[in-house]
Symmetry: C2
Subunit: 430 residues, 2 copies
């Protein structure tokens, strides 16, 4: 058997501890699969005494993670610190500069600096692996780069943030409002004290940018991702969605259009019959549409120490066995820059919810505002009557251009009988 | 760039033609991903003049597929002939003996002779790849061997036969009986003239045996697969399943038990809330349960020329790029033989449907037969009354041992008031 693969783990938070536990408990299994042992020889973390559930007495400790990345007795650096810049970036750049393989779970880093890091890894002749950065233990990067290598993808979409999906699922199941469910999720530890990263779509945008690169062979373009979160989704929207045959999901969607690569994260209405509509709670799912394979759906736990450790371990086994893939599927020099398709030119159907005064003529005014922008109505629901008071009205449109829709919404918002800013959710055709 | 990978394709039926089309249409994409071109240099087929949708004028033709396998100008032999023995087996054995890589879509061959062929490939230092043999274009073999390499799996199950799933889905949607739906499926080309291979579970058993090997690191044991098809599933069962909160699916299930490796293919009642319950029509799905990753679900088209060609292409890209994995995840010498768990000792809950004479005392007799075998009833449904005539009665049990259940069913079948052989469908707990 070949000599062991020597691993340095930078960052021993929950994912780091989970990874150490996996590497210890599955050591024989990993050795059988990789053809050599995978051994942790060095770690770095600020707090040395905390119990990580494994014996670290024989392992070299570093206060400074960048020093670990330079350790000549380390073949692979596993970066589990997080953050787009700062120490995490220094660790990865140091490791690559020393011709060491890198495995990272850091989606912010890959979304911001992925293309440059891929170039550095190629120049050094080492592997840069990041399966753990997207969708936890679901092997979605491997599937896009290898399993579907024979396909040109037309579209890729997914539920990429478990916290948002949990909140939307719980709102539907319990009939409660967003704020209440979020507060409960925070209490249960499913959402952070500062939940913005999850519920405003930032986390999903990072993951989408990485996936879009691997799927379409483009440089990572996080700034090209249109991003909208779930704060404005209300209980009422969920009820109306159900009535219209939809579920509301926060999706990341990437596709090639005549205007360039479209990348967007926002709440979507999806048909209850679509596979992704039934992915509930903290689960993630990714759907890839290829010209030969058709639709492939992958689903599983998108976060958590052990699922993430599972992805890190898979990357380590590939490295130990000598299997290497360019980070984004093709050599970095062959990644084709492509204009981002502006959101203005997005085409799709729309759901609009208005709070209006229940009086004659309101629907006529709203309809006229849509007509003025050539937006064609598909359906209208007004439940209940309360003359002179506020009632919700829901409209759905046929496919139209986003810019026209936005102009129509602005005009509708200016109507005296419309009491709140109109709410709009895009309807996706899966 | 490295010299091209020279491919010989044995068998030019629909999958063979689809593969040639993919390799031609995606040639540049594949070259970018593999780091070298993948070029078809030889083919074999009986009928030379048929149009395969690609220009084959510059390619060497063989009447004899085994001669193609021996062609020194071929680096990889793609076997798309089919069948566990005969010419397909000869082609694969010849290729391996000549130190050529093999890519095959042949599930019967891999299920019958997979372990031996894996040994031969290892001895020759070449790759034996068979992603296309299971679940069409869904990269399930890659996921089990590589993506989930850090996990011990506890259970693996899936919808592995699209024809059976289409028939069960259509029976549910249309309310029609098995025979009628089968006849229609045959007319539409979704089922073969001799449908036994699909509807009796043989095809699913082949695929399950292959998956179980890759998942659990055991020699392939097709004879250890308990196999039961869908011929006896009736419209009534589907109606009762719905009422009880279940869907009926033909599943292949493998799991490690205290009695050994359990491998079984049979109709199952699964909760409507389980991800696999919503996989309808010709789609396939595989669910793997790992100790670190939790549950991972893969879903997509399980058959067809293009999805299968997608899997063949992925294997070819791996070979062209120099990425190799032992056929069943670990070296053949390390595959651990394990007794098959006898079906008698299977434990689970059961659904039973009886046609009984509607008269007092029948349920008491049936209940007594179950009690005599220590089988505990969970629910009983008898809809409608027709004194003195035949009515269906449905029972569900708590978890019990298969042998006890079979004895109880035999006793129930002997009751004078029970008019047809009892129908039993196992309830799976997902």
């Amino acid at each position: 058997m070949k000599p062991p693969l020597r691993v340095g783990v930078a960052g021993l938070g929950t994912v780091g501890a989970g990874t150490l536990q996996l590497l210890e408990r599955q050591a024989d299994l990993l050795a059988a699969r990789a053809g050599r042992r995978i051994v942790v020889t060095a770690v770095s973390a600020r707090e040395r005494r905390r119990d990580r559930g494994v014996d670290l007495s024989a392992v070299r400790w570093y206060e400074d993670a960048a020093a670990l990345a330079a350790d000549p007795e380390v073949d692979v650096v596993v970066e589990l610190i997080g953050g787009a810049d700062g120490i995490a970036r220094a660790v990865v750049e140091t490791a690559l500069a020393r011709n060491k393989h890198v495995v990272t779970a850091n989606k912010a880093l890959m979304a911001r600096h992925g293309t440059g890091l891929a170039r550095a890894a190629e120049a050094a002749g080492v592997t840069l692996a990041f399966e753990a950065s997207v969708a936890g233990g679901i092997p979605v990067i491997k599937t896009l780069r290898e399993g579907l290598a024979g396909n040109r993808l037309s579209r890729l979409y997914g539920i990429l943030n478990g916290t948002s999906n949990y909140i939307l699922t719980t709102m539907r199941d319990s009939g409660r409002e967003f704020g209440e469910v979020l507060a409960e999720a925070q209490k249960l530890g499913y959402a952070e004290a500062d939940p913005s990263f999850d519920i405003d779509g930032v986390d999903a945008a990072h993951k989408l940018a990485i996936l879009a690169s691997a799927a379409f062979g483009r440089p990572v373009d996080i700034d090209g991702v249109y991003t909208e979160g779930i704060r404005h989704v209300s209980r009422l929207d969920i009820v109306f969605a159900d009535e219209l045959g939809y579920r509301i999901k926060l999706l990341g969607i990437a596709r090639l259009t005549e205007h360039g690569l479209e990348q967007r994260v926002h709440p979507c209405m999806v048909s209850k019959a679509a596979p992704i509509a039934t992915v509930d709670g903290v689960f993630n799912a990714v759907v890839a549409e290829g010209d030969f394979v058709g639709q492939v759906v992958l689903q599983g736990r998108g976060a958590g120490a052990f699922p993430t450790a599972s992805a890190v371990a898979a990357d380590l086994v590939d490295i130990a066995a000598g299997r290497s893939v360019p980070p984004f599927g093709v050599p970095a020099a062959e990644l084709q820059p492509l204009d981002g398709a502006p959101m203005d030119r997005h085409q799709g159907a729309y759901y609009i919810r208005l709070m209006v005064v229940d009086q004659p003529g309101v629907i006529a005014d709203v309809s006229a505002a849509l007509r003025d922008q050539q937006v064609s109505l598909e359906s209208m629901i007004q439940r209940g009557r309360a003359p002179g008071e506020a009632v919700p009205v829901v409209l759905t449109t046929h496919a139209t251009v986003e810019a026209a829709m936005q102009r129509a919404l602005a005009a509708i918002g200016r109507l005296g009988t419309v009491l709140e800013p109109p709410r709009m959710i895009r309807i996706e055709d899966f």
